[in-house]
């Protein structure tokens, strides 16, 4: 008797589960188009209840696991859409005409994906080419110099033994707590005194070293066993050669992360250029974009076209190296 009851229960559970899933799917498909919202909502709610009841009655572990997976992917998809949609909207808008921009309700897709007019107009209105060059130059020099000083600093703090090493490093680390905004004033006066304000040098000079990156790289360097160093030393390898021949190649993943993070920060920096740059032709992309918004006023499609150009290099960089970015930060931070 009992067994038969259980079997029936399971059957019922399966039926409820399948029915619930069907209700949810059909509900969510009809949601964007249907006018009878109340019916759709009740369909969804009923579906959820059915699925829950089905899971309760049908004790299949696999079904539960599958449902959990589906739920996880659903939430991830929602998150992804929220993150990606603004970017999509920016790129889509860049291809719309001025009239299309003002449609109501707004259209999801531009009529013509090959409409590059906005880009032409934006590039004619403001010297984006020049801005782009400025950004590339500052970004490259800043990243190169920072990486170089970071490597040297990390080596000194991890491998060379000198009195007060740990104290000095703790002091440096404590500097990380001083926010950039506090340093802006002193940096500005220094730049003015050096007489290089309103030049590209002013954009590079304050960003030629980084405590945070030194910290990440030092942690990595410290994880390289001593044996490697002494084997090399015994073979007649000096510190300089050991650093470039052994340590740097081993630390390549960490270094790539550092370079990427640094490049992104440099590319996106806005406040500092805003302070030190006056002349139009010395502006970098984010700053140029900012002035551009005031010039084009309500022509959002032009703004979106310009914005797309600004963010594109970083998006490409991110797509190629996102594993390195995420992994590197996690690795450097774990060991304190």
């Amino acid at each position: 008797m009992k067994n038969k009851n259980k079997k029936e229960q399971r059957m019922l559970g399966t039926i409820l589960y399948v029915l619930g899933v069907m209700l949810i799917i059909s509900g969510s498909i009809s949601l964007p188009t249907s006018l009878a919202r109340t019916i759709v909502y009740s369909m969804l709610a009923l579906g959820v209840v059915f699925v829950a009841a089905g899971l309760y009655l049908n004790h299949s572990y696999q079904t539960k696991l599958g449902t959990l997976k589906a739920l996880q992917y659903f939430l991830l998809t929602v998150g992804a859409v929220i993150m990606v949609f603004p970017f999509y909207w920016m790129i889509a808008s860049a291809f719309k005409t001025s009239a299309e921009m003002n449609f109501f309700p707004p259209t999801m897709f531009p009529k013509n994906w090959l409409n590059f007019d906005n880009f032409y107009i934006a590039f004619e209105t403001a010297p984006f080419g020049r801005y782009f060059m400025n950004s590339v130059i500052t970004c490259l020099s800043s990243v190169t110099l920072t990486t170089f000083t970071t490597i040297l600093g990390a080596f000194a703090f991890s491998r060379l033994n000198f009195p007060g090493r740990e104290v000095l490093f703790s002091l440096l680390l404590s500097m990380m707590m001083v926010p950039f905004e506090m340093l802006v004033i002193t940096n500005y006066t220094t730049i003015v005194k050096l007489g290089i304000n309103d030049t590209l040098y002013a954009l590079v000079l304050p960003f030629t070293s980084s405590i945070f990156y030194t910290y990440i790289l030092r942690n990595f360097f410290q994880s390289i066993p001593d044996g490697l160093y002494w084997s090399a030393r015994v073979d007649g390898c000096n510190n300089w050669r050991y650093l470039w021949k052994v340590m740097v190649p081993i630390a390549r993943p960490s270094l790539v992360t550092i370079v990427l993070l640094n490049a992104m920060a440099s590319w996106n920096s806005f406040m500092w250029p805003l302070l030190v740059i006056k002349q139009d032709y010395n502006r970098t992309l984010p700053f140029g974009l900012y002035t551009f918004t005031t010039e084009v006023g309500a022509n959002n499609e032009l703004l979106m076209a310009a914005s797309s150009v600004v963010v594109m290099p970083m998006i490409i960089l991110f797509l190629f190296a996102r594993k390195q970015i995420v992994g590197g930060v996690a690795r450097g931070g774990i060991k304190g």
Partner: protein
Amino acid sequence: MQVEMQGLTKHFGATKAVNDFSITLYDGELVCLLGPSGCGKSTVLNMLAGILPVTKGKILFDGEDVTKHPPEQRGIGLVFQNYALYPHMTVMGNICFPLEIQNVPKAERIRRATEMAELVHMGDYLNRRPKQLSGGQQQRVAIARALVKNPRLLLLDEPLSNLDARLRLEMREEIRRIQLQTQVTTVFVTHDQEEAMSISDHIALMKDGYLQQHEKPQALYDEPANQFVADFLGNPPINNLEGTAQGDRFVSNDGSSFVCRGIEVVPSGTKINLAIRAESFVMENEKADSFMKCKIISVYQLGKEEMAQVEFGGNIFRAYISLENNIKAGDEVYLSLKDRGVFFFDKESGRRYI
């Protein structure tokens, strides 16, 4: 190359890691620095390599004082327990690296590295990376890298400790073969007495930073200088019977006694440890007062012979007994001692009476 250490001393603050360490290594010899962990053997090696500065004393390479020389000027090869291979280079790259540093032309570099790889039987793996090799293979590469620049002295710091038991046996024979083939003077640090016994020309046994004895392996086993040396070498460990020397007799703490050859060298009434190797017992057939009257506690079969756990005068010890004697647990037997493998150590100081 002849290596001489004279009064080598290393202090880390208040800790005295190595004290007044003096030995001489002759050309082409393989010498083991043996001792329990923390005895200072690795410290000696690191001082030889120039990794650690010397507190006091001198190191002479072929008569030349190198105490203050930096590592790169000493002409040594170094092998670590964890192999310390460069993970981003291939086997070829690793073996070539020391030559690259010395600016040896590329063609010669490759020729010498290939030759060295053949010597350590790694010729087929030149393009692999360290990660793709087993522990034993990595150690072979590390040895090749250390030897490729023809060092005057090869230093091995517990090179086999990371390997499993079987591989360890194989690799220690390999190290010996390579060493004999290249005739390089070698210092081998280990805590494994069996390893040290089997491959070295001389063993320097250390304890708490002091050299205990520097001898040929067999001499170290046959003629230990003190209690520690006797205890450290040999498997099963040497048996120590506590008691007193009385003329030609050894008297156990509970009063039972027997005649012991050679004990006359100990002043009568001295408290001693009578140290006997497990293989130094002889079964006697007569029941005489001059023999050890013992009780068999248990018997373990070892195939070719038997190992018995035996009690005499309150001391429990292990003895090898030949199979013909047909002993079993609970038997009362009479044992005497061979001349070889029997030592008298002072109970207090561990000093040996000869």
